[in-house]
């Protein structure tokens, strides 16, 4: 038999690679801006589009889906073709994948700046974009499985398995977490409410880390680390075992994001147990990578690619040791809601993901442009500056996390809270400044990479189609080479069964989930009532401005939290919250019992100028809420949507909802007038005040009534 000649498609790798670099710089730049905003709130410039609450989702989405996403696609398209010994299944699909993904990024970025958000962390993009993501992901899947089917190498190298795992799991996560009811083109409500929404969101959030930031990177690692070290992976058998272990354990660990919350105990315990088990497969991958490089330490001294890989793997090891530790309830009690979490994820993102990507690009670009790296010295300097950047970023934040948490929990001898919330924030501002400097250093390193890689590209000549040859697989063993993909599946009963099961499961879920969820959204606390139309509008403003990026709405059952915020939060209090807004970080205080704590006028002045009411506050001004009108036209549609989701507004309430809205607005206007504040009743500030004054008050009412009885 003659070897077949064919060409690898390098252009698609190049395009995804360039997209990686561009979006990487954008995402990191936004990160640096918001890091400085946390120390100097004036940097929000007093306009909606540049405040922390909108830029922070832009930063996380840009870094995760644009920077890391494009890098995964670049790396996997390169790897697929080489280890499967074939060109990608279909060039047109590759192009649709590339440009579709970039379109999603651009539309997503603009929509986040405009305040179109679902209010669920790392899944903020609104429903039309969710559909676009699904379509592009399916295109990627067809291209990937098509390539696997037409391969010339029977064995699937372990990296391929990691990409298969990534694709399947991300598809499932994205679909389940994106069930939402559209109200208008750019507004939807999560199908799930309160505690259920929280569970779905963190099942998604945790597994997004697992299957978007981890498994594909282990796939990249198993190809590029051996290649760069010029030696085979330390133990191939080990790589197989740790892949399957990782896949089976990861999906169950999500509830560790909700320890001490209103989530049922057994679900929390399940999350903890699986999180601790995860340390084995995670470290299996890290050690396998490091042991592969172990035989090439002499090269590590000189080669920036290997240096980056060593730090990346070490960061992966640290983050995956820390993760299980943070899942222990006693540790989580201290770490949760603090900057400890932010430090933890950045060890992973800057160290593992970032350095894997830069190492990969420094290795790939010279090869695809048929030349050598423009400056090895510059790359080594990037490595040093980047590593210092990570340390200057992470160490102060760990310190800040500990400091703030210990201050929160400190009582005086007479049993009073020792510190006001604002003191716990002002004391960590110096750490915030250091962190911002660390991030700037890291960004500086990335810019050096841009220059270095661009120079390498201009000095070499790009090989768009790289010639290769391989023996075809024997026909009887691999009919896929000649046949339409579907007839291949049909000939394999087991595979056919699997694919149909998956199809049926997805279809069934789409049909069943809505019914399930709506019926189960019944209140368990009688005193908890639906939001009034004005409060609902206020809540949507709260979501739009990204308040959840700094404020939690979940009081844990600890002595200090009850003393500081009030009675701990109950699951039954959130049944009308589409989406839930528990948050995951307290740069500001918890707001779940905010209602009735301060007069309306306090909130008005605080929104206009937070530092006036609370000197040293890091909150930016929200003075446009005083100018903007409430979108009253949307009220009926919103009420109807909520009714569809099972919120018990009376029949026909949508028609009179705005009358109710104005009645409540008038009473707030009157109360503000008493404190000499003049504002008209149709301004957004009225709605947000109504919402904040409602927060957590329902069960207070219940207590008052029962007190009266006794």
């Amino acid at each position: 038999m003659q070897p077949e000649k064919f060409f690898y498609d390098n252009r698609i790798v190049k395009q995804f690679g360039i997209a990686t670099i561009i979006w990487g710089i954008v995402g990191m730049l936004v990160g640096v801006v918001i890091a400085f905003q946390l120390a100097y709130p004036a940097l929000s410039f007093g306009i909606p589009y540049t405040t922390f609450g909108r830029l922070r989702p832009l930063h996380t989405n840009a870094v995760i889906f644009a920077f890391v996403g494009n890098a995964v696609f670049a790396g996997s398209y390169y790897i697929f073709q080489r280890v499967l010994k074939t060109r990608m299944f279909n060039d047109t699909l590759s192009k649709i994948h590339l440009w579709g993904w970039q379109l999603i990024i651009v539309v997503g970025a603009v929509s986040l700046l405009l305040g179109y958000t679902t209010g669920k962390e790392y899944a903020e993009l609104e429903w039309p974009i969710d559909i676009m993501i699904t379509i592009v992901w399916v295109v990627f899947g067809i291209n990937m499985f098509g390539t696997i089917l037409k391969r010339r190498e029977r064995h699937l190298y372990v990296a391929i398995w990691f990409f298969i795992g990534t694709w399947v799991a991300v598809a499932m996560l994205h679909i389940v977490n994106s069930f939402e009811l559209p109200v208008s083109l750019f507004k939807s409500y999560s199908l799930y409410a309160g505690v259920q929404d929280a569970l779905v969101q963190w099942w998604y959030g945790h597994n997004a880390v697992a299957f978007f930031l981890t498994t594909p990177f282990l796939g990249l690692m198993y190809y590029f680390v051996p290649k760069a070290a010029e030696r085979p992976v330390y133990s191939y058998r080990w790589s197989i075992i740790h892949f399957w272990a990782l896949i089976f354990i990861y999906i169950w660990a999500g509830p560790h994001h909700l320890l001490y919350t209103a989530l049922p105990e057994w679900a929390q315990a399940l999350g903890t147990v699986f999180s601790i088990m995860l340390i084995l497969p995670s470290w299996g991958g890290m050690l396998n990578g490091l042991f592969t490089i172990r035989g090439a330490w002499d090269k590590v001294k000189e080669d920036p690619v290997l240096k980056m890989f060593v730090v990346a793997l070490t960061a992966y090891g640290m983050a995956t040791f820390e993760g299980p530790m943070l899942s222990l309830k006693s540790v989580n009690a201290v770490s949760h809601y603090t900057d400890w979490t932010i430090a933890h994820v950045h060890v992973g993102a800057l160290g593992f993901n970032g350095f894997m990507i830069f190492g990969m690009l420094y290795w790939l670009v010279p090869r695809m442009w048929n030349t050598t790296l423009f400056s090895r010295k510059l790359a080594n300097q990037h490595f040093i500056i980047g590593t210092i950047g990570i340390l200057v970023y992470a160490v102060p934040l760990y310190w800040a996390g500990f400091t703030q948490s210990l201050m929160w929990k400190k009582f005086t001898e007479s049993g009073q809270l020792q510190y006001q919330f604002i003191e716990t924030i002002t004391s960590i501002v110096p750490m915030y400044i250091l962190r911002a400097i660390g991030g700037t250093l890291y960004l500086g390193g990335a810019l050096m990479a841009v220059y270095n890689l661009a120079k390498t590209m201009t000095k070499g000549s790009f090989v768009a189609n790289e010639a290769a040859e391989a023996m075809p697989l024997k026909l009887q063993a691999m009919p896929a080479v000649k046949m339409h993909w579907h007839s291949v599946i049909e000939r394999k009963p087991v595979r056919m069964l699997i694919f149909s099961l998956v199809a049926v499961a997805i279809g069934g879920a789409i049909e069943l989930v809505p019914t399930f969820m709506i019926e189960s959204n019944v209140p368990s606390i009688a005193a908890v009532k639906p939001y009034t139309p004005l409060e609902l509008q206020g809540r949507d403003i709260y979501v739009r401005e990204g308040c959840y990026t700094c404020h939690s709405q979940m009081i844990r059952p600890f002595r200090d939290e009850e003393a500081r915020y009030g009675e701990y939060s109950k699951a039954g209090e959130f049944v009308y919250d589409h989406p839930f807004q528990w948050g995951s970080k307290r740069t500001g205080p918890d707001l779940h019992r905010e209602g009735g704590k301060y007069p309306d006028s306090w909130h008005f002045r605080h929104m206009r100028d937070p530092q006036e009411m609370s000197p040293g506050s890091l909150m930016p001004t929200y003075n446009w809420l005083i100018e903007n009108d409430i979108q009253v036209k949307s009220t009926p549609a919103k009420i109807r949507a909520m009714q569809t989701l099972g919120v018990p507004y009376p029949k026909g309430f949508d028609k009179i909802a705005n009358d109710d809205l104005y009645r409540q607005a008038d009473s707030i206007v009157a109360s503000l007038q008493k404190d000499k504040i003049k504002v008209s009743r149709d301004k957004e500030i009225i709605a947000i005040i109504a919402y904040l004054q409602r927060l957590g008050t329902d069960i207070k009412k219940q207590q008052t009534t029962s007190d009266e009885v006794h």
Partner: protein, 51 residues
């Protein structure tokens, strides 16, 4: 907490998918040789060596 049923069944579904994938890969003989695949990724290197 009906959402637990949804999440458990979806997670189990994916788990079963991977289990079947694992079964397929074992039966297909994917793991019979746990040495050569690690070396095979180096076979295409000659042409790519930069001058």
């Amino acid at each position: 907490m009906t959402v637990m049923i949804v999440l458990l069944s979806v997670s189990l579904g994916v788990g079963i998918f991977f289990l079947l994938a694992y079964r397929w890969s074992v039966k297909n003989g994917q793991f019979e040789d746990d040495q050569a695949p690690a070396y095979r990724i180096f076979f295409d290197d000659k042409k790519q060596q930069p001058k």
